[in-house]
Subunit: 265 residues, 4 copies
């Protein structure tokens, strides 16, 4: 089977799913199921970690985990604006959720929610040194991406477009460069994906996974979009492996002339 390994996990699904902003908890859980995801991000600053009801988000997600159908948690630092804030949030998450994995998000801009490269690198350095498996949400510039990879991040996760924009992969050239210069580190397109063809394209570029939230949670029918994303990642991954035909401005008949037989009279 086609699996990939990231942060100590071996996964068959290539969808990472965010859990914020769904119309209801049921819609969220149905989307988790329909997407086939095995790794969901949870905003540590958003949820009440002391909450203990069986209907809470965390317990609902945990109940879905089983040996045959694993569902892992990936706490994130959404809402953090400085390295210090992000590191503290990650440490809090480690204790509360009992995992070394963290999706590191350090926002530098209120309007666009772009990551702050300087604070991000600083936080990533501290967290890697502290034993975390860091999934780093970053821009698409190759210098920052290579630095994060060299520091030992578990995954480098460039944006395709601003968070929640649904603009898709606005710069596939930049994403292609990242894949070329970082052939061995897990690369995940994080943010910007709006629909299925965006997800397929990310896979065709050779990315290892995609991380979605608004595209699913904000769709008119979230579970249906989640299912679309499951098929889209399978499609794009299979197409990547299948070896596509080259692009030509114009080509040749699909029914070759050589094979023509004459019309009988």
């Amino acid at each position: 089977a086609d699996t990939w390994t990231v942060g100590g996990l071996t996964l068959s699904s290539r969808v990472l799913l965010g859990t914020s902003r769904y119309p209801s908890l049921q819609s969220l859980l149905d989307s988790v199921d329909a997407s086939g995801t095995q790794l969901v991000t949870v905003g540590v600053r958003r949820i009440d970690l002391t909450e203990s009801g069986g209907t809470s988000l965390l317990s609902a997600l945990r109940q879905r985990h089983s040996a045959e159908r694993p569902l892992h948690l990936l706490p994130n630092t959404a809402g953090c604006y400085t390295a210090r804030e992000a590191v503290l949030t990650a440490q809090l998450a480690r204790e509360a959720l009992e995992t070394d994995r963290v999706k590191l998000e350090v926002i530098g801009e209120d309007e666009t929610l772009y990551p702050d490269a300087i604070e991000l690198v600083k936080a990533a350095g501290e967290l890697v040194a502290d034993g975390f498996e860091v999934f780093a949400y970053c821009g698409d510039d190759p210098v920052t991406a290579r630095r994060l990879a060299d520091m030992g991040c578990a995954a480098v996760m460039p944006l395709g477009a601003p968070i929640g924009s649904g603009m898709g992969l606005t710069n596939p050239y930049a994403l292609r460069i990242l894949r070329e210069i970082l052939p061995d580190v897990p690369l995940v397109v994080d943010a910007g994906i709006g629909t299925a063809s965006d997800a397929a394209l990310a896979m065709e570029l050779g990315y290892d996974g995609i991380l979605l939230n608004t595209a699913v949670a904000g769709a008119e029918r979230p579970p249906q979009m989640a299912a679309a994303m499951r098929h889209a990642t399978l499609a794009g991954r299979l197409a990547h492996l299948a070896g596509r035909i080259p692009r030509r401005l114009y080509a040749e008949a699909s029914t070759p002339e050589a094979g023509r037989i004459e019309l009988r009279p």
Copy 2:
């Protein structure tokens, strides 16, 4: 279940698959299976219709047909350059394959294999009058497309790019216009698709199906690409139905500020 009706058939698969140019008959058959297609085109001028061996293309395809898993034949007029030639080929196909369906292809240009709008319309008119279910391969201009629809063609099938080019949907705007002005006729993207994201995009534009040949037959591993296309059409169709989020240049946090709770000390 999500089905569509075209030329008297009700189909659950949205992949129409061409059968020319595969590396081997086995590769072709494996691709047919992997794609999930229920409608395959066969070049009438290319195959020897009098051939009767159990290993021939036609008999192999026919053996795959069953009530639970239907596989219909769609003879095509590939290699025809005039209305007269295409009409004769269609009539020959009707007799030999015992079907009223025909994919009408009237090539007007040897280099680009673009359809000839004038000969195409002429042939379509004659064939519709003669009781055929005409699947018309055409350019992406709305005047010709509307004329074909008004004449009673079973499906209007604009190209995304030249046959065999793998360029994808070179003019999604033109394709979108066709869908808007022809909301009720079956529309299929025929020619140009190169990889999975192209197929997903066609579905997202609201097209009813895609017709593939070179993208699968010319891939390094045809059956794997066929499987990719199956998932891609499912993905794009589901995304179309799910109601995607709008595109915004930049948007809002996926973890809304309102939901932030303070870090505990």
Copy 3:
């Protein structure tokens, strides 16, 4: 100097300008001047050809013509929906405007204003036989374009996008194919251009000219946009002739490493 020949005229400007829909006659005339055009289209069905006042459109345009700064008229058949209607309009225009040139426009679709390939080819055949210099507004399909060129049209003028849409060159691949298969016939992008970079791109694709109307007439400041288009055609044409650098995903330093000298201590 860089000139081109079309329909018996040798022109240094590559802007063909339409004259409908300006906020005022003065705005139109200022735009004509600012664009540097030497060939303006006039809608024969729109103007009153019997009108004789010195302020009329035709006389104002004619007064602008001089030996040093020629300004030729190109009557058009805008608003015609059939070959017969277009041929009659062209003949009327020939008598009224005393020119054999005609921009042939046969609309096939009220919503998109796409040309009707069948009626267009029919009208072009009759007009060429009748001694007209036919400037044919067509779609971007190579079969129709080649047919128009082979029939002896003075210029083949594919659309970049629907009339008045401002969408730019929605299918540069199709336009490139036309240039490749028709290296010798004057090719003009007609319709769709919205702004200066669209015009430059048309020239970079090797087109001989562009035809504009809405982009100028509908701009907030028409004469300023007309000036932009003059510079844009010069820019694109010069770039085409200058031989651009190839595109590479990433390349090399603009200051080569070999030339580095050491920093002095």
Copy 4:
């Protein structure tokens, strides 16, 4: 006249031109003239600043400067990989060229020549504090760009694509975001431009200028491409000011139906 102010200079030309990699000094000087540039960058590490011959690059450029046709020098730190190296190079340039202006380039990646955001910000801070007018070459992420602007850089200069790639504006969305969030700081597209339409597009996005080197120096005929770029910036700027028509998928006739008169019999 349409001028802009940057780093204490008021300029009418919006082309900044690099001076490396031309086939000859004559070709370079002809390109400077043809481009109309008033600000040329000079690689300090590349040239021998102690050189004193009248034929040298610096003296040739200085001889071109006059009150009517100013030509200013902008030393750059191309080839620097750390903040320290860049700051030292800038200080050396200030002494040698007697100008406070510096194009700050701190490369972080040998393959792609992308800027290193962290070292760039560090160097910019030191140089601004030391009284320099800093023209900062950066990526297209809004956090770094805003930081450079807030620090007091004279110009923020995001790349359109990697240096020397000729890929054009690979992410116009990101460039548009920068213009929106930084309406008042001089913004210049630096790197990536390959041909005239790229330059026009940069102006249409509201950028204040473009910086070119390889696109001109590497063209088959550099002075001709330089002239193309002059026209392209004029074109794009005029179009930006003229107020373009909105884009519509399809629109309305350029000759409105209301104005139709009947064909006379």
